[in-house]
Symmetry: C2
């Protein structure tokens, strides 16, 4: 079991990564009642293990349909009403057992139910384990605008069980690995080089190597959010690949790409943008491209209108005063956050990656 610690103004908390991580819930005391929020398919597969590991026999979870549409204010209201009906009070605990959707929704409900109750993240996807479960960001979507409503509210702890990754479909699995690649670009040559040696042929069932991957990639997120809890500055680096990525997701109605896949395309584009802006050596750029490509195939970019994608960039939540803060890789382990790129370069980077005329 690996234990990472996140610093937070509302109290530090642990991220535990390893087989049997859910067992840490046995030691959480002092709650009037405990609740689990999860998805039906996940519960069918892992509910028995969860009940055994935690000793919560007979636990009857609150179920929400899988998929992004559950990340809505309407669903948040339904979960809150269900908590109330089951007698949850201000000293109750909610465990969010699932991927990013359950984690974001569960965290949002917990941080606002009766103005805030404790919650635990028990992430079950690579993406959630290396990224979204850590840092206390919670959110729901408003129509097509992802994460428009949310809170900064740290969990009580994060419990990442690598064994559950074995049941992930290949695409969902790979989608999460892209976020690990993002963390490696931010972290530096050690993690990046390690990933270069592991990514090819990696499968969801390789529990020991995944435990290491999750712990090492999660450490990057832990370090960043511990130094910048509320995204005042440093935390922006985590947005690497997300500016283009969000626009790609929105332009395709969130149907063509999984989140990590859109971020993967976004990382390729922003790598190109960094080259075009003169801040990244093309040999390093090629190394980034090779690692992203080694993860697996990406859904094609064909048919995506340049004007549409570029028009969506400015609506990104991170834009302030109409300015986008771009996160440009300058090397392995070094990024620059800057609004100073030309519109022409932004357009060229998209175009070069879409047309495959660069590095593909």
């Amino acid at each position: 079991m690996r234990r990472l610690q996140v610093k937070s103004s509302a109290g530090n908390y642990d991220v535990k990564v390893g087989c049997g991580a859910w067992g840490a819930l046995r030691k959480l005391k002092g709650y009037t009642s405990t609740f689990v929020l999860t998805e039906p398919g996940l519960w069918a597969q892992w509910g028995t293990k969860f009940a055994e590991d935690t000793g919560w026999s007979g636990v009857r979870p609150i179920l929400v349909p899988s998929g992004e549409t559950s990340k809505s204010l309407t669903m948040a209201g339904r979960v809150a009403a269900e908590l109330l009906n089951r007698g949850a009070d201000r000293r109750s605990l909610l465990v969010a057992l699932g991927g990013g959707v359950v984690g974001d929704l569960g965290g949002f409900v917990a941080s606002t139910y009766m103005r805030g109750i404790d919650y635990v993240q028990a992430p079950t996807t690579v993406l959630a384990q290396v990224d979204s479960s850590i840092g206390g960001k919670t959110a729901v979507n408003i129509h097509a605008m992802k994460n428009l409503i949310g809170t900064f509210s740290p969990p009580r702890m994060v419990l990442s069980e690598p064994a559950v990754l074995a049941s992930l479909p290949p695409r969902a699995f790979q989608s999460g690995i892209y976020e690990a690649v993002k963390h490696a670009i931010l972290a530096g040559p050690a993690l990046f080089g390690w990933l270069e040696g592991k990514v090819a042929g990696l499968t969801p069932g390789q529990t020991p190597v995944l435990e290491t991957l999750v712990a090492r990639a999660a450490q990057v997120k832990v370090d960043v959010v511990s130094r910048d809890e509320r995204e005042a500055g440093l935390r922006r680096v985590l947005n690497l690949g997300h500016t283009y990525g969000h626009a790609l997701e929105e332009a395709t109605g969130y149907r063509r790409f999984l989140h990590g896949e859109a971020v993967a395309w976004g990382m390729l584009m922003v790598t190109r943008l960094a080259e075009l802006s003169g801040v990244l050596d093309s040999r390093v750029g090629s190394r980034i491209v090779r690692l992203v490509r080694a993860v697996g195939p990406l859904p094609a970019l064909r048919g995506l209108k340049e004007e549409k994608v570029l028009g969506l960039l400015i609506r990104d939540k991170k834009a302030v005063g109409g300015k986008i803060h771009w996160v440009l890789p300058e090397g392995i382990g070094k990024v620059r956050v800057t609004p100073d790129v030309t519109d022409a370069a932004v357009a060229s980077a998209f175009r070069d990656v879409q047309r495959g005329v660069w590095n593909d």
Copy 2:
């Protein structure tokens, strides 16, 4: 202009009470854009003054229908979408101009929009000026459950303009005065005695005396929330009269009583409960009853089923582990928070007040 200061972990903030208070918005700088959330009727009456006092000529407010039904997650989502459509970003400012509904809704949207933007409370009812605008509690309702979803998120400042009270209907005006009475019971003989001399014949147009009343009653709230921001303990005293009050509101579907009226009945019941529990001298109890009664007539309690009202008490949001923390007056300026009252006394207190067999 009177200036009170609230201590808050997220930064202290001012409560300004006085004619022209809105003018303080002129001095708020550094926002990329500013927005006003309000109700159509209020804006029709006071929009011109607001624009003049603030210098925000041409301001086009975001309007929500007046009334409690606007305090919903659905409406929060609509307001957030409207903010997005108008280009609000993380450095935008939202002003909530209105009563408790606009304040709670606006505060909730602001505290969750893009995970939190700054907001200013510009309360326009007695209730909002002496109570709900101060302390950083925001909330929306889920079905009949009031304030089930919300946040603790302090405003940037609170600006209370007493002149706007002149347009309040008599019932709404009196409803707010009851909350001022509650604060006087908590504060002590000075404010209580002052109110005893002012309450009879008080009308919404008496701006100078209302400025004093609002400032003095608001000071009580300021003192409490400055010492207990997140309702860990002390803040519970503000719940005086609210345990019965909430049950009365819920039992009548929020149609018969205005909030302050329900709290007024609740104060009478809890005063009786304190007497029955042996912690309050009946002469002091009578003095409380007289002041509550002097504010004005209350909608009758007739037809309310005792079992129904008592059954709703336990669903109160402040109940923890099935225990209700009662706030019992022990004297003017002294209350006790305790779960230790008998069910029989709770029922008798309701019954005695409903039947008018006590002190009426």
